[in-house]
């Protein structure tokens, strides 16, 4: 069986640092949306998660 952590936010990628904080999850700051998309893609591929968009400038990577 594939065992691992599921249903957990693995990383947050944002252009607006004031919107996120605390919680013990790594937060990556991006200069603009393009960089944000690239960062989240890389992180998603490395961590094996899926990128989700909260539509307020915050992307997060979650494993399902």
């Amino acid at each position: 069986m594939d065992t691992g952590i599921v249903g957990l936010i693995l990383a947050i990628v944002t252009t607006k640092p004031e919107l996120v904080g605390g919680g013990g999850c790594p937060i990556f700051l991006a200069a603009n949306q393009k960089e944000q998309e690239r960062l989240s893609l890389y992180l998603a591929r490395i961590l094996g998660g899926v990128v989700h968009d909260l539509e307020n400038g915050v992307y997060f990577i979650c494993r399902h």
């Binding site: 998309e37 989240s40 998603a44 094996g48 998660g49 899926v50 989700h52 968009d53 399902h64």
Partner: protein
């Protein structure tokens, strides 16, 4: 002696194992009547012992499928496996019974009766082996894929949140959306079962393929329910994006025994429905 071969859809492995088991089963059934009639009680005892072995068939099948399941991208689900295992066991008994019947006829009636008897067995077996399919309990239609900002929707059913713009583009280009509408309340309950949904997804993906990869979950096939009306929306990014064939495949997915709902057969179920 009449042998019966059982080729379960989408299950090509172990055909030989089951063919030989079927032959053994047919042999067992066939010699039973002459052995009792002779009477050779040692042979009868051995027959009973051998027949017990067929109880093992189900667990063999279950174990194999569960082992294979671990390395599957899209899983069959336990319900489907249990269903397949049961079918294998039941069909072996069906073989024994057919052979028993045919050899009984031959023993008492002579060779000319064997042909009609076997034809009769064939028809009865076919009747027994015929389960119902998704196409019998639900209609399958094309759904339109759309995005509400980052939310992927098929018609009015929200499927998931897709973060990356280029993934959204890919889904718009290649994604397929299908709506499965149950005909009645029983069908609705059947389609509710996660096991049944997994079975549908597995069958479709095993034929059309899927672009999902290990560690890349965005393109995974997903099936979600419209909570108020009970129909299912099925999202898939297939290697062969052909909607018509996809719908045909879904219609031919068997309704799992363990998922089959019979609420309308119970008193309160009928009362609650109206």
């Amino acid at each position: 002696m009449r042998s019966d071969y059982r080729h379960y859809p989408s299950y090509p492995h172990g055909e030989f194992v089951h063919l030989s088991l079927g032959l053994i089963a047919a042999g067992l059934g066939a010699v039973a009547v002459p052995a009792i009639a002779k009477p050779d009680y040692t042979a009868v005892t051995f027959l009973a012992l051998a027949a017990q072995q067929f109880r093992e068939v189900r667990s063999i099948e279950r174990e194999t499928l569960l082992k294979l399941e671990e390395t599957k991208m899209i899983r069959r689900g336990n319900d489907y496996i249990e269903g397949i295992a049961r079918v294998f066991e039941a069909r072996n008994y069906l073989v024994i019974l057919s052979a028993l019947f045919t050899s009984g006829i031959v023993y008492f009636g002579g060779w000319p009766w064997a042909i009609p008897a076997s034809i009769l067995c064939f028809i009865v077996s076919l009747r027994f082996m015929n389960g119902s399919y998704i196409g019998d309990i639900a209609s399958v239609e094309v759904g339109t894929i759309s995005f509400d900002n980052s939310m992927l929707k098929i018609n009015d059913v929200v499927i998931m949140n897709v973060g990356l713009p280029f993934t959204r583009e890919k889904i718009k280009r290649e994604g397929m959306g299908i709506i499965i509408k149950p005909f009645n309340d029983d069908a609705r309950l059947t389609l509710d079962t996660p096991g049944q949904r997994m079975a549908i997804m597995h069958d479709v993906v095993s034929i059309l393929g899927s672009k999902v990869d290990i560690n890349e979950g965005e393109l995974a096939p997903i099936m979600r329910k419209q909570a108020d009306q009970g129909y299912l929306a099925f999202f898939l990014v297939a290697n062969e994006p052909d909607l018509n064939f996809c719908m045909e495949i879904i219609k031919r997915v068997p309704v799992l025994e363990s998922a089959r709902a019979t609420s309308s057969k119970s008193y309160y179920g009928r009362k609650a429905a109206d």
